[in-house]
Structure formats: structure tokens, C-alpha cells
Subunit: 321 residues, 3 copies
Amino acid sequence: MKFPSPVSLQWLAGFINAELKGDLNGMATGINEIHRVENGDLVFVDHPKYYNKCVQSAASYIIINKEVEVPAGKALLIVEQPFEAYTKIVQHFRPFEPATKLISDTAAIGEHTQVFPNVFIGNHVTIGSNCIIYPHVSIMDHCVIGNNVIIQAGTVIGSDAFYYNTKKDREVWYRKMLSCGRVVIEDDVEIGAGCTIDRGVTHDTRIGRGTKMDNLIQIGHDTVIGKNCLFAAQVGIAGGTTIGDGVVLWGQVGVSKTLSVGDHAVVLAQSGVPHSLAGGKTYFGSPAEEAKQKMKELVWIKRIPELWKQGKEREKEGEDE
Amino acid sequence: MKFPSPVSLQWLAGFINAELKGDLNGMATGINEIHRVENGDLVFVDHPKYYNKCVQSAASYIIINKEVEVPAGKALLIVEQPFEAYTKIVQHFRPFEPATKLISDTAAIGEHTQVFPNVFIGNHVTIGSNCIIYPHVSIMDHCVIGNNVIIQAGTVIGSDAFYYNTKKDREVWYRKMLSCGRVVIEDDVEIGAGCTIDRGVTHDTRIGRGTKMDNLIQIGHDTVIGKNCLFAAQVGIAGGTTIGDGVVLWGQVGVSKTLSVGDHAVVLAQSGVPHSLAGGKTYFGSPAEEAKQKMKELVWIKRIPELWKQGKEREKEGEDE
Amino acid sequence: MKFPSPVSLQWLAGFINAELKGDLNGMATGINEIHRVENGDLVFVDHPKYYNKCVQSAASYIIINKEVEVPAGKALLIVEQPFEAYTKIVQHFRPFEPATKLISDTAAIGEHTQVFPNVFIGNHVTIGSNCIIYPHVSIMDHCVIGNNVIIQAGTVIGSDAFYYNTKKDREVWYRKMLSCGRVVIEDDVEIGAGCTIDRGVTHDTRIGRGTKMDNLIQIGHDTVIGKNCLFAAQVGIAGGTTIGDGVVLWGQVGVSKTLSVGDHAVVLAQSGVPHSLAGGKTYFGSPAEEAKQKMKELVWIKRIPELWKQGKEREKEGEDE
């Protein structure tokens, strides 16, 4: 998330009650989680295992629970509870805005767009022209919908990321990382009924132009999907994954988090994708492999009894010798 | 889709600006996609690969982008863009009707049927008597619900088919095939929460009498399901498939498109069905096979290390000889 | 389900027109299905196969279609149709209450809880403080939500159990077992968008404190989930299952009914769990096994062609000898 305008480190240090070390005159331009930080951003870290990753990242300013060395031009904001400090800043710049109406006064809806009864459209949502939004769809705060988009009934755009700060030495292990990112849906996208598309934690979840999704599909936070993809029903894609252009995922395929699937890849029904896949090929299985290889394997498995029989015969011959 | 009354080919040719060849005095009784055409119907074809299939189909009148030979009594309507012409005709006879209320004035609801708050009931919907329709259910235009039907919260009946005209030489590859079919739900059916049942493209999606479906189930367009079936949660059935009577599908089973599953078949949890299955048997696996065969295979796989060891011993014996 | 106060067997026998045998002065304290009966409860049985199980169960009073011997202190209520008699009693003590408003007058909602527009909250529902309930959520009658609970859009809490009385010699095979149990969600639970959590048939479905669930997850009736669990999207858990504390289920995992998964078990994505799992271990596959074992098996499968080749060479050597 970028701040509306740069914010002085001095003010931030006061706001979260932090000790400031390093570049004391810095101005932070935004706050992001570690996978998405850019130059000028704040980030937080609360475990020594990740100190170095954070210090070496693009982030300029690090909310941390211990003094460590930083390169010139960077700064530390030292607090006891970095996660809670991060949350406090995010809440300040992206406060929870209650919804009092089904369609927010701050939502902008384009010409010739049909919004059915009982659609929820949150604060600061933008919807383009010539769209059809069917009943019981929820479009949460700050999401952006392009032109000629069709969303079938009951779908949720912009639910919170499934992303938690974990500490197993407290009563409640998982604490919610606030989602202040958006969902951006480009032109000519169609989304089926009963789908759920999570907003980014600090950036955007994005569905590329012309992509068509069937029913009951799950798209995780910060996942970026290319153009002209085709996803059959009940596909699930975890967070932070990148899907290329023209990718086809058949029914009930699952794709794990923070990986990439290359352009024009095809993944057959019920496959599970635990690692990145090169484009232009067809995959099958859980874990997914190239389909022609996997199909051969299924044939080989059926030959095991014959192998067993050969072994037994050979053993018998051995005894007879 | 049948037209309200037969429509002259001459008028149709004028409407879509087509050159008419063959039986010039024909009257079209309806328009359907190729899997569902009947005598008297219009159909469209835009790829030479399918010309012959369309000409030889039950369709009487073919919207096509090239002159081909046709049997006597049939006619061609030649246009540059057959898909767009098809869409124009469908839109004319089944125009988009905006919904202005949660329950349409043209919906008919039977006696003793309980409709919870926040249910959407579209235009020309019929619901029988003694039904319970829970909150946030959407029943889209033209769908038909029988008597004693229970639909749990959040379910969508009559979402659009996931069915596209594909051309990869344009910016947006997939163009929506308009869904003008219906969903027909027979008496004594129960449908769980969060399910999605797509309407037929030009015909009906049908759920047979007494069938019970758990939550988060997907039923594709034009799929026909028999009587007294039992589907556990998260089952997905693709489009154009026929399921017999008394079929049991356990949790997360996926069934592919345009195939058939025979009466009283049982498919165990998480199985994937890529081809038609004979009735009266139990299946397991992805791809699904007869369960007892598949279970044996799982045992054989566990014997591979023993086979390997035997091979090694045999090799050693060979060296010792 | 417990009755508001104990009910005399004499009255019950008259109400369902039953012949009473055994302890004629008994007072029933509740009515439950066979998996959940306690001392003082009524239960029903209509198949000789289960007579003995019911008579030997904790239930004190048995609605049955034949006279059998019972231990002292128990009683039989003999009727021709035990299931229908059971249903009549349940309906009397838990009558269908129509909903006329989005938020029932009998619902209690705690301080600082944000309820978005278009949330359905049924009769006798209790919601704690500091919760956020997003749009199009349905919380059905009698459910209980703790404090600091977040429920994303479109989720259904308290849909009916998928639980039927089956007789294949009638036109409609499956008759609905009425669900009179509840869903109880403890403090600090978060539930994603588009989830479905069924109420118990006669007892509670329960989600333990601090558990976090992603989108499109199905939880069956009477299932009890521990504290600090983490379930990724599209997980499905069938009815009557017990999940321990700190259990992690990755995306699209399916867990079968009436089994148990031990504390701190981890089940990798797309696995299927057909039997109980010990805690503290990691599992993979469908059917699920210990992941390290399953991973080895996947490597062994890839060695089958080599085994085949060795067998062929050996055969050739044999011929050469």
C-alpha cells in the first residue's frame, strides 16, 4: 500500500512509539509485506530468521524488535511488537469503513452496467461500463472492475487474504494480517457463480483481460492471472502465484502458492500443482507432471503383477537348476 | 430453444443479413447448439472442421460462413460471422430482462412454500408447493422448481453455462455463448448450501425426483441427473453429462463433460471420472476404475521395493554363478 | 436435543400413538440420533439390524417397530413408522419458525460487532462482541458465535445436515432427518468467504477457539474441530468427525465421516483421509499415508520401467545360457 503522500519517519516513530536508528530524515512512501516491498516502503520483521532478508530487501525502513546493522540510507524503527506496530500503521492509513448501504455512495458504476438486486458494492469501488453483476454478489472496498465484465450470482470479490502472523507460544496462535490490497479485474473477464477472489495483502490480486472462470473457483491473495485464461469449476489457486496468458486449468485443479505457471500451459482435471510449470505443455496428476509421462506411468503400474509373476517363475527356474 | 411460433427463413435471412440457399420457404421452429439440435431447428457453424457434422445433423437450417452442399429440404443462411448471427437471433427471442425486484412479478410460487428473506427469484420462474427456499438463494429467469423442494442458503440455480466460442486470432479469445436454456428441478429434490447449477445453453439442466445434494456442488449446463441420486459435498459435474438413477457420488468427486454414468453406480470420494461408467458398480481413483481393481493396484505398488530387492538378489546370484 | 423440561413417556406414547412397554413412569429428557444418545434420551430404530445397538446404547427409551427385550429401567414405544414418529416429536419441540426479517428480533448481537448490509441472522442466534459479519452471510436459527469472530461474505452457518433415512422400496428413497442441532463457533475464529458449516443433527457442530478457515470450505454436521487449526481453501470435512488442536489441512483436502485426526497433524494438499490419523505427523495422498512413505512410493513407481528392463535382460541371459 502506498500512502496518500510520503510520511516522515519521525512522525511514524512517534506514532508506534519506536526508537529510530539510521536515516532520521527519511520519508516513507508506503508499507508492504515482505514479498511486495519497494524502495521507500516500510516493512516489518519479528523473527531473527528473517532479519537479514528484510534488511537486504528493497524496503527502506524496517520495523524490527532488535537493533541490527543497516546499509546507509535505510532506517530501523525498533519496537517490542513489530507485527502490532505494522497493523497500527495500516489501520491508520486504511481505516475500517463501515458499510451502511448495499451500494456505497463512494462507488462509481459505468454506463449500461446492469446491477441486479441485492448486490453489495463497498466503498471506493469502481465498476466499468457494459457489465452485468448478478444477485448476491459482494464487491468489497477499493476493488476495481473493468468494462464488459460479467459476474454470476453469489460471487465474492475482495474477501480478506488468508494470511496470518503465527506464534505458537500464545493462546491464539494466528493473528490476522490486515488486507489493504485490492482485486483488479480487467476488461472482458467473466466470473462464474459462487467464486471467491481474495484481495492482496498490500498489493493487487489481478485477473487479466478476457479470462473466463467457471463456478466455485478460489483465487488467493496477490495472485496475478494473465489474459485469455480458461478455468473450469472448483479450481483453487493459492496466494502470490503468477499464471501466464492463455493458461487452461480443468475442473478441481489446485495450484499452490507463490509459484508460476507459464503461458499456454494446460493442466488436466483434478491435478495438483506444487511447483512452477513451464508454459506450452500439458500436465496431469497430483503432484502434476507432463501428462504424457504420467499416462505412461499409469500403464506401467498395471504391469507390476506381470513383473511379479516373472520374478516368481525365474525364482522357480533358479530352484530347478 | 423453441421459438414461440415458427419463424420464416426469409425473415431470419433478412434479420441477420444472410444469403439464403436451399429450401427458401422453410419455417424454423427453434435454434439450438449442435449437441441438442432437432428437426426444424437452426444451428450455426463457423469452422470447416464441423461443416459436415452440422449438415448431417438433425438441424434443418444452418447458419454458415461458406456455401456447401445440403440435402433436399435443408437450407443454408450464409453470413461472414455465424456465431454473431446466432447470438443476434437468440437475443431477439430471449431478450435480457432486467430485474428490478428481489421477487419478480412474473414468478409463480406454490402454496405453503416458505421463501426466506433475501431470496432472488427471477422473471418467469415457477416454484411448486411445500418448498423451503433459504436466504440468499438466487433462482434465475425461466427456471422451474417442483414440489417439496428444499434449497439451502446461498445456492445459485440457473447461472450461465460455461460455454464459449473460441478464436485465438482475436484479442479476446473467448466469446460467450448466450444461455437461453433452463434448470428444471423435479419434486422432492434437496439441494445444499452454496451450490451452483448452470442453466442449459439451449435446453434444460435437469435434477431428477428425490435426488439429494450436499453443499458446494457444481452441476454444469445441460447435464441431466436421474432420480434418487445422492451427491456428497464438493462434487463437480461438467456440462452435457447424463447421470442415471440411484447414483451415489461421494465427496469431491469430479465427473467430466458429455459422458454418462449408469444407474446405481457408486463413485468413491475424490475420484475423477473422465469417461462413461457402467451402472451397478463401485469406482475409485483419478482416473476412476472399478474400486476393487484400483484397491489391488494400491497393494501392488507397495510391493515394488520387494520386486527391486528380488531383482538385485537375482543379479548377485548371476554374478556368483 | 434436550427438551426444555423432562417429558413423560405416557404423554409421548399418546402423541405418537405408540404402544408403551417397560418403564411406564419414565420421563424423557431429550431425543437424539443413535451416534449421540445419552441417558434419559429417546432414540428411534426401524431396522432389525440396528435393534440391538439401540437397545444396548445409552438411550433410555426406544421408538421401534417391533417388540424386543429391554433391560430394566428402559422402555419401548412401539409404532409402525419409527422415523416418522421421531420426526413428529422433533417438530413439536423444535417447530419451524418462519423468518420475516433479515435480522430476527430474537437474535442477540454483542457490542462493537459490525454486521454488514444483507446479512441474515435467524431466530435465537447469539453473536458475541467485536465480530465482523460481511455481506450475504447467513446464520441460521439457534447458532452461537463467540467474540472476535470474522466471517467473510457469502458464508452459511447452520445449513441442514446431509443426513437421510433410506428405504429403497418407496418412490422417494431418502427422507430428511430434521436437523435440530446447532453450530457453535468459539472466540477468535475466522471463516473465509463462501464456506458452508452444517448444524448438528441433534447436537452441535463446533469450531474451536482461534481456528482459521480459508474460502469455500465445507464442514459437515456434528463435526468438532479443535483450537488453533488452519484449513486452506476448498477443504471438505464430512459429518461426525473430530479434528484435534493445531491441525493443518492444506487446500482441497477431504476428510471422511465419523473419524478422528489427532492434534498437530498436517495433511498436504488434495489428500483424502478415509480413516483416523494419529497426531503430530504429516500425511499425503488419496488415500492419505505418512507423507515421507508416500513420497518414497512415488519414486518407486518411477523405477518400474527399469525393473521391467532388468527382467527382460535376465530373461535373455537365461535364453543365452
